[in-house]
């Protein structure tokens, strides 16, 4: 197990270095720069700006400078926000994205798991049909449609919530619901599929024959095996929730990292793009690693093959 972990960690670090290098150089080959603006700054001012941010040095020099400061945990100054550092911006916005992601995931699991289990246990009844229909709807209707619809109903007409913002507990409800529903759907379907596969196996028939109650059959005997597909989905799903929150953050005006991630690319805020990319890449790798470990723990077969 330890060797499995160590080799995966090493692979991840190497991949991270490749990502940093590729992002760094690709950014510089994109037309336009951080100081390209509708109203041009004079050549003298541009030179001063470039000198201040070290953009006048050769590219390889800048690259190693960046790696050097990165090793010290310094992501550098932001180009767009003259008096802020990238560390500060990430520190401000990451917690918001994590909160949004965690709550949404909770919603997704709270809706998806029971629905999936119920659908598997009550296969081919109306519970199953309704669950599948809702699941299909959740997968196929995008968040940028569901979001404004819920705002229209519950914020503008009913007046229960604010249409946008991230201040009070009640401001969390709509965005987390929208993002949660989007992920509840695949979770429900995966749970149903996984559970069905397990419920059809011989050891379940044996358990039933020995007189185990239905609850015991479901929760004690089937759940661990039935949830395997969900667990392998969760790693990428959490990463997806975190990186893909851009749409939700825009619809509800949430000051999270997703918006910064997209805007920094438009602004050519080199250091902020790199900062968000490194953060996201690190998160995704860590989560995938965690999902692999969890899977290995739940399914000895994976462990042996790994």
């Amino acid at each position: 197990m330890l060797r499995f972990f160590a080799s995966r960690l090493l692979q991840s670090l190497l991949a991270l270095l490749v990502i940093i290098t590729a992002t760094f150089f690709m950014l510089r080959f994109v037309p336009g720069g951080p100081f390209t603006a509708e109203k041009a700054v004079t050549p003298e001012i541009l030179r001063n700006l470039e000198a201040h941010y070290g953009l006048d040095k050769p590219l390889w020099h800048q690259y190693f400078d960046y790696l050097g400061s990165l090793a010290k945990g310094d992501f550098g100054p932001s180009f767009k926000y003259p008096n802020r550092t990238v560390n500060e911006i990430l520190g401000d916005k990451l917690p918001v994205s994590i909160e949004l992601g965690a709550l949404s995931l909770l919603v997704a699991l709270l809706i998806g798991l029971p629905l999936g289990i119920l659908a598997a246990v009550r296969r081919n009844t109306w519970v199953d049909y309704w669950g599948s229909t809702l699941g299909m709807m959740g997968i196929s209707i995008p968040t940028f449609v569901v979001g404004p619809l819920l705002v229209l109903a519950f914020a503008i007409h009913a007046g229960w919530f604010n249409a946008s913002g991230w201040y009070t507990i009640s401001d969390r409800v709509l965005p987390c619901l929208v993002l949660g529903i989007a992920y509840a759907a695949p979770i429900g379907r995966l749970t149903r599929g996984g559970m069905l596969e397990v419920l059809n196996q011989d050891f379940i028939r044996t358990a039933r024959a020995k007189g185990a109650t239905e609850l015991r059959v479901v929760f004690k005997h089937s759940l661990r095996g039935g949830l395997l597909p969900v667990v392998s989905f969760l790693g990428p799903a959490i990463a997806g929730i975190l990186t893909g929150s851009f749409v939700i953050e825009t619809i509800f005006q949430i000051p999270g990292l997703g918006r910064e991630f997209v805007n920094s690319a438009f602004n050519r805020d080199y250091t902020l793009v790199l900062g968000t990319v490194i953060l996201y890449a690190g998160l995704i790798m860590a989560l995938n690693l965690a999902a692999d470990l969890a899977q290995a723990w739940m399914n000895p077969k994976v462990r042996l093959e790994g």
Partner: protein
């Protein structure tokens, strides 16, 4: 199959919920704001910084004007120069020396007096090359400022700033500048409290985190109370402001809004008193349902196409004139934009600082065809196909498609449309790798020079490859003419020449479209979209319903 809860029953329950919710009277943020004199406003994208010397976007003025005040303030209706920190000023007979008398009760938010020295040290900071202030060139009208900023003179004493005493300030200009007082209204001229800056870092380089809640010291009608980046900024009435008696709002809450649809939803749910903008698709709905909330104000900006005059075919003046004459601007404004925009027949918007642009371009397809034939391309025969570049946006595409069709129909020209993301377009503009380019220009201050200046040969914003010695000469002459009538005549002559040479095709003059709650008072339509907050207040609209 077991019975599912019937659809009608579900709907009935949902309706009941909605009804119950409707009964519960929940005071909206807007209503609470009216009671407490707290203005809630959308403000477009987040401001990059609250350091007036480093702020760059026109929208930054939205917040900065609450926190700082320059020598000269703005009249709430006309934006004409009004006393600010300076209670009065005199101008020498040769229009070169301005003497400002600072009021005795102008104070910083920490209680210190605002002195003449504060201003001079602030301007010195702006002109320090290492600070790389984007707007430093707006100070170049002052004698010696350009040379100092470019490092040609090391001594700041040679720059035309002079504190005669603590309350008297003298500025010597390079040449008569009739719009100098309007220029002083730009935020780059506003003072900062240098002792505060020094406490938090260097005053000469970027990255000083002084402009934050708790540490920002300003001299405006409000002080910064909270700034949650990307979320909300709160300013509260300043007790130390010299004109605090006039200020009626207790606080202003600014909400950065990346998405104009989300902003409109927030307005409709009673979170905002006013928005920064309104989606085009919503204009008609407001026009019919609540016209009293819809505001369409004039705005000092021109939508136009740049023509790269270094390209073959486009280097022919007659071709460029033909392109301009063949555009039915009325149709574009009335059928595509539909938000009260005005047809632009010249580059400078009408009545910019009292200036009227010359009779410009009319829609005349017959004349356009004749010009194209004279240039050697009758009916577009033998003409190369043209490339029209714009930054990705639905509106730009709709306009480009209309113009593509007009040029095809009237002139027989083939036009390819291409779009790219914002900064890539700006890069194509810089390197001159375009033929025709969608552009826009927002005036920095209400004077024609703010528009005509960009077409000078030495301007960094020209980008068309066009230059004309007569044009430069006319502007040069106008810059040395103090009498506004003569000066305007010279500028009109210059603009006529510019339009006849046609390195650009003006299309329309912008409007600022937004929604405003009827409780907001003192919010006048102004060309620069400036609204001095000390003249704004909230009042419940008369008995509703």
């Amino acid at each position: 199959m077991p019975a599912a809860p019937s659809v009608p029953r579900v709907v009935a329950v949902l309706c009941l919920f909605a009804l119950l919710a409707g009964c519960g009277v929940r005071e909206t943020q807007v209503e609470r704001g009216i009671r407490d004199q707290v203005l809630h406003r959308g403000m477009g994208p987040e401001v990059a910084d609250l350091d007036p010397h480093l702020a760059t976007a026109a929208s930054d003025h939205t917040v900065l004007s609450a926190l700082f005040e320059g020598l000269v303030a703005e009249d709430p209706k006309t934006l004409a120069p009004a006393p600010g920190v300076a209670e009065r000023w005199t101008v020498s007979a040769d229009h070169l020396i301005y003497t400002f008398h600072l009021r005795d009760n102008a104070r910083w938010s920490n209680g210190d007096l605002v002195s003449a020295r504060d201003f001079i040290e602030s301007w010195k900071r702006v002109l320090t090359p290492t600070l790389a202030a984007d707007n430093a060139n707006l100070l170049y009208v002052v004698r010696g400022a350009e040379a100092y900023h470019k490092g040609h003179t090391p001594s700041f004493l040679e720059v035309g700033f002079n504190a005669l005493d603590d309350r008297t300030l003298q500025i010597t200009l390079e040449r008569p500048t009739p719009y100098f007082l309007s220029l002083l209204q730009h935020w780059v001229w506003w003072p900062v409290h240098l002792p505060t800056l020094r406490q938090h870092g260097s005053i000469e380089v970027r990255g000083n985190p002084w402009a934050r809640p708790g540490t920002l010291v300003g001299n405006g009608p409000f002080v910064l109370a909270e700034w949650r980046v990307g979320q909300r900024m709160i300013v509260k009435k300043s007790p130390t402001y010299w004109d605090a008696a006039t200020v009626r709002l207790n606080a202003i809450h600014f909400y950065p809004m990346e998405d104009i649809n989300a902003e409109e939803r927030a307005f409709r749910s009673g979170q905002l008193h006013l928005t920064e903008s309104l989606p085009v698709s919503k204009i008609d709905a407001y026009r019919t349902a609540s016209p009293e909330m819809l505001r369409i104000d004039p705005y000092l900006a021109t939508y136009f196409y740049r023509i790269n005059v270094t390209r073959p075919f486009l280097n022919l003046t007659k071709v460029r004139q033909a392109l301009s004459l063949a555009i039915d601007r009325r149709a574009i404004v009335d059928r595509i934009l539909r938000a009260g925009q005005r047809v632009a027949t010249a580059f400078t918007p009408p009545d910019t600082g009292g200036y009227m642009p010359p009779e410009g371009i009319v829609y005349d397809p017959a004349a356009a065809r004749a010009l194209l034939a004279e240039a050697g391309y009758p009916g577009g025969q033998g003409a190369p196909s043209l490339d029209l570049l714009f930054n990705t946006s639905e509106n730009h595409r709709a306009i480009a498609e209309a113009i593509q069709e007009m040029w095809r129909r009237e002139l027989g020209l083939e036009v390819r449309l291409s779009n790219m993301e914002g900064k890539s377009v700006l890069d194509a503009r810089r390197t001159g790798s375009y033929e025709i380019l969608r552009s826009a220009w927002i005036g920095d201050y209400a004077d024609p020079m703010s528009f005509l200046g960009i077409w000078r040969s030495d301007s960094g914003n020209n980008y068309t490859g066009w230059s004309n010695a007569t044009y430069d000469q006319l502007l040069h002459q106008a810059a040395r003419t103090a009498q506004s009538k003569e000066r305007h005549a010279l500028l009109q002559k210059a603009e006529s020449l510019l339009l006849a040479e046609a390195p650009l095709i003006p299309i329309y003059t912008y409007t600022h479209v937004f929604v405003l709650h009827p409780s907001v008072r003192g919010w006048y339509p102004t060309l620069l979209d400036h609204h001095p907050y000390k003249h704004v207040w909230l009042e419940a609209p008369g008995p509703a319903r």
